[in-house]
Every structure is written in C-alpha cells, then in structure tokens.
Assembly symmetry: C2
Homo-oligomer: 403 residues x 2
C-alpha cells in the first residue's frame, strides 16, 4: 500500500483539527471530506487545497464519502449519536472504520457494531487517545511486568470543568443536549480504556456487572446564573459514580464530573497486591521497595519502565494533540489499515465501553440497580486469539517488536 487513503466524516472543532493532522502525514492521502454544514466543509476544502494543491472530494452527504472505492478507511468524527451508524455503513462498504470517543446510545447499537465487524471482516477502532498517554502506558508496562502484583482495583474519572463549554447551547450543542436529557456515565472511555488494558478485559477477563449513582444537578445552572444566561433543565447529575465488577474479581470505579469547579484530573488509580499508582499524586508506592508510607514520583521509574512505544517514538516531542497521545492513537489505527491487521482497541473493546454508558443510565434510572454487562465476545474472551504483534499493541508489551 502506497498511501493510506482516508475519508473524514465530521469536521467540527475536533474533526477539523484531526484533518489538519492527517494532512501533515506523508503516508496518508485524504480522499474525501464530509460535513453537514457547508461553511465547515468549505473551510476544510480550503485547507486540503493549500496542502495538496488540488481539490479533494467534498460532500454534505456522508454516504457519498464512504462508498467511493478510493478509500481504505473512514474516520467518523461527528456527533456522538451518529458514530456507530456511520461506522457500520463504512464497514459494510468494505472500509476500516474508526470513530472519536463517545457514549453508547443503546445496547443494540453495540451489538450491531460487533455483527458488522464479524460479517464484513472489517475492523473498527474507537480512537481512545488516553490509552496511549505516557503515564497510562507506563502503568500498563509496570502491570505487565508484575510490579503491582495481582491487580485488584482500578479507578478513573473525567473530572473536567466543562461549565463554560456545555452549560449553554451557544457552545457545544452536542454535549449540551446529552447533558440536558440523559443521566448517565456519559464519557467513560478516557479512564475506562486504559483500565481495560491493565485488566486484560476481553482477553482473559471481562466486565460482568455495574451499578451507577448520580448526584443532583446544580453545577451548570449555577454557572448560567453567574453568567446571566438562561437556566436549563439539566438531567445529568453533577457527579455520576459507577462501580464495575469484573470476572477476574477486580473492581473498577468511574467518576463523571464535568459541571463543578475543579482542576482537571482523570483520577487514575491502580491497586495490586504489591503496589499502588495514584495519578493525582503522579506517584507510585511498591511494597518493600518504596520507603515506608512514602509516595514516589512515577517519573523516577520511567528510566526503567517507560513504555517502549514512548521510548521509541519520542512522542514527548509532539507539541500538539494532548501531549502526543492523539498522534499515537491515530498512528495505531493507520498502521492497522496499512498492514490489514486487527486494531489494538477492537470492536469488542468499543462495544464494552459504550455499553457502560447505556447501562449506567439504566442503573441510575432504576435506583442504582445492578445491571449485567453483555459479553460481546460471546465467550471468546476466555481464550482469545492473540493480538497482532505491533508497536501499538495494548494487549502485550513485546520488547522484540521495538528493535
């Protein structure tokens, strides 16, 4: 394959940013762009023209972008509600598909995505960038090397003060609508993605059940009152707490927390029989190694335990894209397309993550009732085929592939 030929659907702020990144990649050819809004499409066309010195096929209808036979893959970067249906259309058209992160809208949608993968043979990947963040990957490396012993409990969250961006329709309409109408763990993937890699979910482990509990909703309207903006009847609780039990006996705790004032944190936590990592302290503690009752900066372990992908790619040099992880997650997808292999986060991982949003909503609405998380692998998790060898693998840390 000479160049990886990509159609890009959805050119909002994130989509337009991604387009700019793709246009910089010498082994990528953007073959089609699509958005429902003409002014966005025109701005993107102009960007392509400047880079390529020619016109790129542009359309307001995503179907036209997908069906072209000069595409290898389709990136769906548009609305949460359309991620999966567009991805399925792409797979049924014989293309690799990837989407930005987002919550699931129904369990059926998750199953449809899985069936599309099985029936078409075309892989799907959710572009969960935090799986490729340096700290999370170092933790993955430490887990695989046994530093934490047997992993017992993981935690994570999305504690991001988004009041300025979501508390009004003027800013992020998509997220505003979801927060207005739903009460759920709406954005679990930034923490759950990495946690699933540490716990080998869908590869010898799986998530069995969850409960979710939402606080009252006060944060957005407190902000709206301060700004003199209209108050809106938000349904989403300010803090949504979800607890998951895994087949291996591990527990996972997730926090969704976007409408109160606080510094940003993904609330990373991993506890094992031999040690603990706490992201809020950027620190680890290992039994019999760390000074008693003293945290150690995780970076003191980087010389030995930095993930080889980070050592190799020097992703710290990337100045855009959340410190390098965006670059890495896109390259992970593109390498899969180029090599015609399975993606490092596959359709089962995406279905499981999206199902957590759907089921958290059902649990909250039923008074925190425990909900069963479907096994989208239908039993395959107990003895999965090995993940393809790749420097982007999240299933193994195989030093030999970095040589």
């Amino acid at each position: 394959m000479d160049k990886i030929r990509i159609a890009v659907v959805g050119l909002g702020s994130r989509g337009a940013w991604w387009l700019g990144e793709l246009l910089k990649m010498e082994d990528v050819d953007v073959t089609a762009i699509c958005d429902r809004l003409p002014h966005r499409l025109e701005a993107a066309q102009e960007l392509c023209r400047k880079t390529y010195g020619r016109e790129v096929f542009a359309t307001l209808n995503h179907k036209e972008a997908i069906v072209r036979d000069d595409n290898d893959a389709v990136l769906m970067l548009g609305s949460w509600n359309d991620h999966i249906s567009v991805a399925i259309e792409a797979m049924r058209s014989g293309k690799y598909a990837a989407s930005e992160v987002g919550p699931g809208q129904s369990l059926q949608q998750c199953w449809d995505l899985v069936r599309a993968r099985q029936e078409t043979g075309m892989p799907f990947m959710m572009l969960e960038n935090c799986c490729y963040n340096r700290e999370e990957m170092a933790v993955l490396n430490m887990v695989k090397k046994g530093l934490f012993g047997e992993v017992i409990h993981c935690g994570g969250g999305y504690r991001h003060d988004l009041r300025e961006h979501i508390s009004s329709f003027e800013d992020d309409r998509e997220r505003c609508y979801h927060n207005l109408h739903r009460n759920a763990e709406l954005y679990p993937t930034h923490e759950l993605g990495p946690i699933m890699t540490w716990l080998s979910v869908n590869r010898g482990n799986r998530m069995l059940t969850l409960t979710a509990t939402a606080s009252k909703s006060r944060g957005f309207n407190t902000m709206n009152r301060k700004k003199g903006r209209q108050e809106l009847p938000y349904t989403e609780g300010d803090v949504v707490t979800t607890v998951i039990k895994c087949a291996g006996g591990e527990t996972i705790e997730l926090t969704h927390d976007i409408s109160l004032p606080h510094p940003y944190s993904r609330l990373g936590l991993l506890e094992g029989t031999e040690g603990i990592w706490l992201a809020d302290k950027h620190s680890v503690y290992f039994d019999g190694i760390s000074p008693e009752e003293k945290w150690e900066d995780i970076e003191t372990y980087y010389e030995k335990y930095d993930h080889p992908l980070w050592k190799k790619t020097n992703a710290t040099d990337f100045t855009s894209g959340h410190g390098g992880m965006d670059w890495l997650v896109m390259r992970a997808f593109l390498e899969s397309v180029k090599n015609r292999t399975e993606t490092p986060l596959d359709v089962y991982d995406a279905a499981a993550m999206m199902a957590v949003s759907v089921l958290s909503e059902e649990s909250i609405s039923m008074g925190s009732m425990p909900m069963a998380i479907p096994d989208f692998t239908e039993g395959r998790w107990v003895r999965r085929e090995p993940a393809p060898k790749s420097i982007y693998s999240l299933a193994e840390v195989d030093e030999s592939v970095y040589e």
Copy 2:
C-alpha cells in the same frame, strides 16, 4: 457535678490507652474497670493504683461495672460484637453510654440502640474521633460558611495497610475474625462520620440507599505467604466500594481498603457548586478565588477558616491521640455527661453509620443490589430539635459559644 464518674469496659490496647488518658483528666473519676482477661485487668488496676493511690473497683463481669450507682457514664471499648449490647445495658441502668467505633452487626441492633435511648432518656455516643480532626473540622467550618456553595458529592475511605496487624490471629483477633467471615464496608465511620456532619445527615438530610461492591480477596494471604504464616480463607474483599444516595440529592462514596500496600489516607473529598477539597492533596480549590486550575494548600485558609474549637483548645499541643482528635472526641462526650445534654454525635448518627456496614454486607452478598437505609429518626430528620449549644457541636458552628 464535681467529677465525671466513669466505668471503663474493655481494656485491650485501645481501652488501656484510653484509661491512661482518662486518669490524666482532673475532672474525671474512673470508678470501675472491667475486662474479661485477668492479666489485662490487673495491669489496669496497677495503673489506677499509681495514679489515684487507692484501689478502683475491678471486675471480669461488665454487668458489675455497669450497675454501680457511683457511675455517671460507661465507656465500651471492647469487642466490636459487644459494643451495642453493653451500651444498651448501661443506658438501661441509667448511665450515659459511649463506645469506640465499629461496624454494625444487624439492623435490629441499631434499632434496639435507638429504642434504648428513647425509653431510658440516656444518650449514646459513638466516639468517632475523625469528626474532630483539624482538617475535617476546617472543612465543616467552610461548608457552614458557604465556601463550597451547595454540597454535591463527598468521598472518603479507610486506606490503611493493616496486613501486619490483621492477616493473622496472632495480632488483632477481633478484626481478623471479622475479615475472615464477613464481606462488607467494615469500618466506615472515620470518613462517614465527618461526611455526615458536612451533609447535615439526620438534621434536614438523611442517607436513603446504598450499593456496595467488593473486589476479590488477595492481600492478606499475599502477606501471609511472604511471612511464612498460614494462609486463611478470608472473605473480605481487598477493596470494598460503597455508594450512598442522600435525600438532599448528594452522593457519598466510601472505600474500605486495608489489605493492600499503600500509604495511609482517609481519601477525603468534598465537592460543591463553588469549590472542592481533596485530602490526598491537603488542598482546596474555589471557583473564581483560586488561580485557574491550581490547587491551594488548605492551611493557607486556616487563619480565616480553622474551626473555632481548634483555635480555642489549641488541640495541636496534644501530643498523643492521633494529633488531638482523640482528646477532643472524649471531651465532647464528657462535657455532655457533665451538662446532662445530648451528645454531639447522637444515637441516630451511630445507628445510621452502623447500618451502612450491615447493608453493605447485604448488598455485596446480593450482587450489589441497592439497599434502603432505615430512617432511624422516624421522620424527625425533616425538622429536628436544635442541637445543644456546645463548643463541641458538629451541627452548627456558633462563634458565640467560644467567647
């Protein structure tokens, strides 16, 4: 009342320590001591003899210590399983009663305690020392003064590496037995006590429901193997996560975490519409006050917001008793006895805290089913009688009582 006359039941390590503290107090007269083990009783007798220069009534039978008419109050510092039955006997004998902290064993026991209070008129207090810790009290003061705005979510835990103390019968038999046979939030009060004061639980608010989820149990036996000790079939999960929903719409998250290696933390967290406190960072952040996205050391707020009890009593001078909070919680109880008033943590607070242990056990055993937390006030919480004015009050921060 000249001196506060106290009978002390239970002279294990904590009981013996408390006895020593009581013997130092000039307004306290220890009138009876009791333990089931003769060697403990003899050691305590010797301590009393040295301090008072006379014999103190000593008995192996707690009933004999309780029924004497030279007692005003009975302290129950013995086994978790006996806290409530002994306290009820004391109340039915016309004495104030206090117990050390511990989990409930049944809901019926919690109701019996409440009924004993109502039928005898004698108050009961669980000696939850962390309610009187400086940081937790400063947070209480800030909550009451509105710094956090409307409180939305609280968190806390008991992350204490007790593997050396509990993983074998050789050390703490009591806790070892509970961890061997039960799977529950066994020790919620150190964090839940303060949280209840912040959320005005039982005074305009109450805890409605909970779910609990336990991880697998690996920590104690990992330690036992390392030490060459016998492995035991522990039931208690290494990490137990409990989520509570309150009538006011707030959520509470509790973590029990005593069998894995980690530095100590009570995982304190309070989030409101105007700010956040995070104990692991010993820091706060207030909307529009703190520098954007920057935590501030909570102590920079102490000049203005240190709780007046801490300003007044200079409890920081106390060198023993967990940095002063033990002293304060005992003085809070003793002042209530002296003034014949209600205790600052009353029987409804104790019943609610103990019920959380019982219900967490039921929830875990039923796959994290949500459980209803009884309203032990039977409706009184919606319009409670005011708490007595006292420098030890946890219901109000009334500056005038400190003058």
